[in-house]
Structures are given as structure tokens and as C-alpha cells.
Amino acid sequence: MEWYLRGVIKLNNIGKSYVTGSQKLEVLKGLSCNIKKGEMVAIMGSSGSGKSTLLNILGLLDSFDSGDYLLSGESMSGLNERAAAKYRSKLLGFVFQSFNLIGFKTALENVALPLYYQSIPRKKRNVIAMDYLKKVGLEDWASHLPNQMSGGQKQRVAIARALVAQPKVILADEPTGALDSVTSSDVMTLLREINADGITMIIVTHEHDIAALCDRTIHLVDGLIDLS
């Protein structure tokens, strides 16, 4: 009961369906789970099982139809766009499979972007961003543009960007999906280190090797968590 209360994320009977034309596709069918503060969780499941959908709901990028979602103790039901943006910038960090760095900004500027949206002055922003670039081992690449970097480097920049605003939770959708195995394990090592600092980490992946590096794995089957 105690970990339950400390859960940074609590999902209760979450339902989500997509309507395309006359067809209705039920993706999540009353999903419940708890993720404790500081946990590192992998989400696995076959393609189309709803992993990204779940992660988007957790990241307040998408809405859900039914059920309840408590993030850090607060209900996320029926948030408007503005409130969602606020929670995202305060509590959440994102890492994507395709990095999603902004092409015309340098590594440093990319990392500093979340701070820009928190109205932190430019100088201070760059100092903090530099710290995080150091943390991912890319301080020498600060003034490079994304297209001058390798996939692994880009993902590390993206991780620095996800960290820079000191989120409580980092959501990563197949962060190693576009990387080779050596680079993948580097990135995972980095994510583990970050997790060791107490940041909750939720990673969607297809790879068992990656899932094995996490504390536990949630299997999605047919819109529900497979407990078997």
C-alpha cells in the first residue's frame, strides 16, 4: 500500500479508442497500473498493441476517453491545452525514436529550448544546457548542428534536452529504435545513470535486451496489461 501512495504515475481503468470514419478502434480497454517514483519501466507489446498511445497519454500529448490518471498526485482528467503544456514543461521529458531535434538549431540551442519556454534568460539557459551536454558527454559538440552528428550523438542530445528542465518523469518511445546495438547500449547506460539520480523512466521498446536493463516490464496485449 505504501508504494502505491508514492506512485508518481497511477492509471486507473484508462480507456482510449480512435474513431476513423465509421470505424471505432478500441486501443486501450480499461488499463490500470502504478509506477513508483524512481522506477525504470519498459513497455513491450506487439506492433499496434497501443504502446505509443499509452505513452502519449502518460505524456499528456493525447487525451483519454475514460478512467483516471494521477500524475504526481494530481488528476490529469480533462486538461486543457494550456494546463497540459504547463505540466509537460514542469514534470515531463520526452525522448523520441527519431530524435526530433530542430535542424537549424545547434546542439546547445536544442538542449536549451525547454528552458526558453520557461522564460529563463538566455545566458543562464546556455550555462545549464552546457552542463547537461557535459553529462551526456557532448560538450565538444555544443555548436554543431544535428545533421553533423551520428544517431547516437543525436539521441544523447535529445536526452540532454529531456533532462534540462529537471522533469520527474522521462518518457522514451523506442529511444534505441534507430540505433545499432553498441550505440543502443551506450544510450541505455546513460538512461540508467539518469534513473539512478531518481528520475522515473518509462521506455517503450521492442527489444528484450533493452527491457532486461529496466527494473520491470509491462506487457501490453490487446489493450490491457498482460499479467501472466
Partner: protein, 408 residues
């Protein structure tokens, strides 16, 4: 609001498709350029015509007598109506206020001689206000004074051509010349650049001229100054004067020639209206061109927003508020408008500056752009920039991060 980051972002999108940006910018610059140049040309035309008007005071009413057209109260048509001193006095008596006035007698071809130079020139007998009513610029000395008129002094004020022909570089002020064999002292000289005609004249005191050269009490013309009376009032004044005169001189009310009154105020107003029309036309044309530019900008922004869908999604995921996304697009539109608009403004003004000194025509002078008009044009640009940015900006705001971020 416009810090280095925003400029960087604006520069990036704007330069991501240089050709498209250039063409859009060009259409805006062209719109402003056309607006500015046409404005300048219109202004030049106005200046020129205004200058023609400056021959005479704008606020004046001119009274003339001529031959009647219609038989009236026992008088045959084709009768020469004569204005006399007594008529003028009676007219002043029944008027409430007389702001300024001058009677005129004209004598054609009088021999004027100074030392061994002599030539034929017309002369005019005038009152002191004639200086202002005819818009004469004195170049030296003084004009006819009321004392001259009262005492019938024999003084003359000479036009530039007269001075040139008779004095050959000698300063004429204080010297004497013979006008029709009578000795006059030159007290002043003038130059009337708007009327070369006037420069061939000698002005004498009205009374002197009437007595010596007319030997009757006939007055050729009366000019009334209307001061700062509103145009409507001058209209009723000239109407009232006309019927008063017709009645006094027994002229049929429908007769258009016997007594004529011309109201310069009205004339001027008519021109002002024409210029207002021209100005509206110019503005309309310029604004339409600007509108075309604005549609271009809206278009380029809409495409840019579409191309940046993913980026905007990322920004939102990183905490960008709707306002900041809105600002991103609107600022871009503003920047595009102001930069290319200023380019058009500067080239337009520059062209006028270069061309202006080369143009010298009677009806076309000093084509220039009013600084205020330039400011107004920039203001309009800014508004148009914001307005054309709003559509694409709202589209950008409505982008949902999930949809933008979905990997295809």
C-alpha cells in the same frame, strides 16, 4: 519580443526557401514602391497646380463688368455695364466686413522711359491690399501705400521685366521714370514667378492711375479678400454681391456677362476635390497592390507552417505555449512585411529624390513623399503583416503534438 532567438527562427524559415521568400518580399516591396512613387507624382502635380494658383490669393472674390446679354427693364441687350467709384463705395457700405480689397484700372501699352531707354508696358492702378491679393513678392523697396492712394502720389512699383528693360543693372529704387510723359518715382520692385505676364507691369496708386490715365471714374475690376471665411460663406457672399450688383446696374438676374463674379475659394475647392479624388485613387491602387502582397505572405506562411508541423509538435511537447507558437508565426509575417516594405519605401523615396531635381514643369513641381505618408504606409504594412500572419498562426496553434510527432 524580438530577441536573438526569434530573429534566428525567423531567418531560418524565411531563408529555407529563398526564392519563394524573395518573390513574396518583392511583391510587397513593389506595392509600397508603387504607393510611394504614385504618391510622389500626385504630390508633384498638386504642387504644380497649387503653384499656378499662387498667382492670386486663394481666398479672394473677383468682380468684373461686361456687356449684357439680355434686355432688361427697358435696356437693350449688348450694353456695356460700367462700374464706377460710386458703385464701389456703395458696395462697401452695404457689406458687413471687408477683409481686404483692391480696385483696379488697367491701361494697355503706355510708354515708359528712363534716360535713353524706353518701351511700351501695361500699367495698373491698385490699392495696397493688391500686394496680398495678387500674391506679389516684393524684391526691393515698398508697395503702394494707403497714403499714396489718398494723396494721389506719383510713385510706381515695377515688375522685373520692366526693370530689366529700362534700367540695365542700375538700382531703380528712388530714381524717376516717365510714364506716359508724367514723372513717377520708383519706390519698389517685384517679381511674380507664377506669372510672367504680371512682371511686365507697373503698379501705380489707384487714384493716380485713374485720374491721369483714365480721366473718368470707371473701375475695371474689384478684388475682395475673404480672409479665413469658410468656403460656404464666401459662396453666399459672392451670390449676394452678384444680385446686389445686377440690381444696381439694372442687369437681368439670368444675365451671365453683364456682371461677373468669380470666387477663387470655390475654384480652389474644386481643385482640392479633384486632388482628393486623385489621392484616393492612388491610395486605393497602392493598397490593392499591398493586399496582393499580403495574400502572398499569408500563403508563404501557411506553407511554412505545414512544413514545420513536426517541429511545432516538438516545441509543444517541450512546453511551448499557444501564445509562443502564435507569436512565432505572426512575428515572422511582421518581419517579412516590414523588411520588404521598408525596402520598397526606401527605393521609392530614393527614386523621387533623384528624379525630383530633374523635373521642372509648370504643372509639375517637387514630387516628394510626405514623411507622414511613409509612416502611415509602414503602419498599414504592420497591420497587414499581423492580419496575414493570423490565419497560418492559428493553424500552427491547432497542431496537435501527437499527430505531428507520429513517425510515418
Amino acid at each position: 519580443m524580438f530577441n536573438r532567438d526569434t530573429w534566428l527562427e525567423i531567418a531560418n524559415t524565411v531563408l529555407s526557401n529563398p526564392m519563394r521568400t524573395f518573390l513574396t518580399g518583392l511583391s510587397i516591396a513593389l506595392g509600397v514602391f508603387i504607393l510611394v512613387v504614385m504618391q510622389g507624382l500626385g504630390f508633384g502635380l498638386q504642387n504644380g497646380v497649387q503653384n499656378q494658383f499662387s498667382d492670386d490669393a486663394v481666398n479672394s472674390i473677383w468682380v468684373d463688368a461686361g456687356r449684357t446679354q439680355l434686355a432688361y427693364r427697358g435696356n437693350m441687350p449688348n450694353r456695356q455695364v460700367k462700374m464706377r467709384n460710386s458703385d464701389v463705395d456703395a458696395m462697401f457700405q452695404q457689406m458687413d466686413t471687408v477683409h481686404a480689397y483692391s480696385r483696379r484700372v488697367r491701361i494697355w501699352g503706355v510708354v515708359m522711359a528712363h534716360e535713353d531707354q524706353q518701351s511700351n508696358f501695361p500699367l495698373r492702378g491698385v490699392d495696397p491690399d493688391h500686394l496680398m491679393l495678387e500674391n506679389t513678392t516684393l524684391t526691393d523697396g515698398r508697395y503702394i501705400s494707403s497714403r499714396d492712394v489718398a494723396e494721389e502720389t506719383k510713385v510706381a512699383v515695377l515688375g522685373a521685366t520692366v526693370v530689366e528693360d529700362l534700367f540695365e543693372g542700375v538700382d531703380p529704387i528712388g530714381t524717376y521714370l516717365l510714364i506716359g510723359g508724367v514723372q513717377f518715382r520708383v519706390v519698389g520692385t517685384f517679381d511674380d514667378p507664377a506669372s510672367r505676364w504680371e512682371n511686365k507691369m507697373a503698379y501705380l496708386p489707384f487714384t493716380t492711375a485713374q485720374n491721369i490715365f483714365r480721366s473718368s471714374d470707371k473701375v475695371d475690376q474689384i478684388i475682395l479678400g475673404t480672409g479665413d471665411m469658410p468656403v460656404a460663406d464666401t459662396r453666399s457672399l459672392s451670390d449676394a454681391l452678384l444680385s446686389w450688383f445686377k440690381d444696381r446696374k439694372v442687369v437681368h438676374p439670368d444675365d451671365a456677362r453683364g456682371v461677373r463674379i468669380e470666387n477663387n475659394n470655390e475654384e480652389y475647392e474644386r481643385f482640392q476635390n479633384i486632388f482628393l479624388g486623385i489621392e484616393l485613387f492612388i491610395w486605393g491602387l497602392g493598397l490593392l497592390t499591398l493586399l496582393a502582397g499580403a495574400v502572398g505572405v499569408a500563403n508563404i506562411l501557411a506553407i511554412a507552417v505545414k512544413e514545420r508541423t513536426k517541429e511545432i509538435g516538438v516545441r509543444k511537447a517541450l512546453g511551448a505555449s499557444s501564445i509562443s507558437v502564435l507569436g512565432l508565426v505572426v512575428q515572422e509575417s511582421l518581419a517579412l512585411m516590414i523588411v520588404s516594405g521598408s525596402a520598397g519605401l526606401i527605393t521609392g523615396v530614393g527614386l523621387l529624390e533623384v528624379v525630383s531635381p530633374m523635373i521642372d514643369h509648370e504643372y509639375f513641381k517637387n514630387p516628394q513623399v510626405d514623411f507622414r505618408i511613409a509612416l502611415v504606409a509602414l503602419g498599414i504594412l504592420a497591420v497587414v503583416g499581423v492580419v496575414s500572419g493570423i490565419g497560418p498562426a492559428l493553424r500552427a496553434v491547432s497542431i496537435k503534438p501527437v499527430e505531428a510527432l507520429r513517425d510515418e
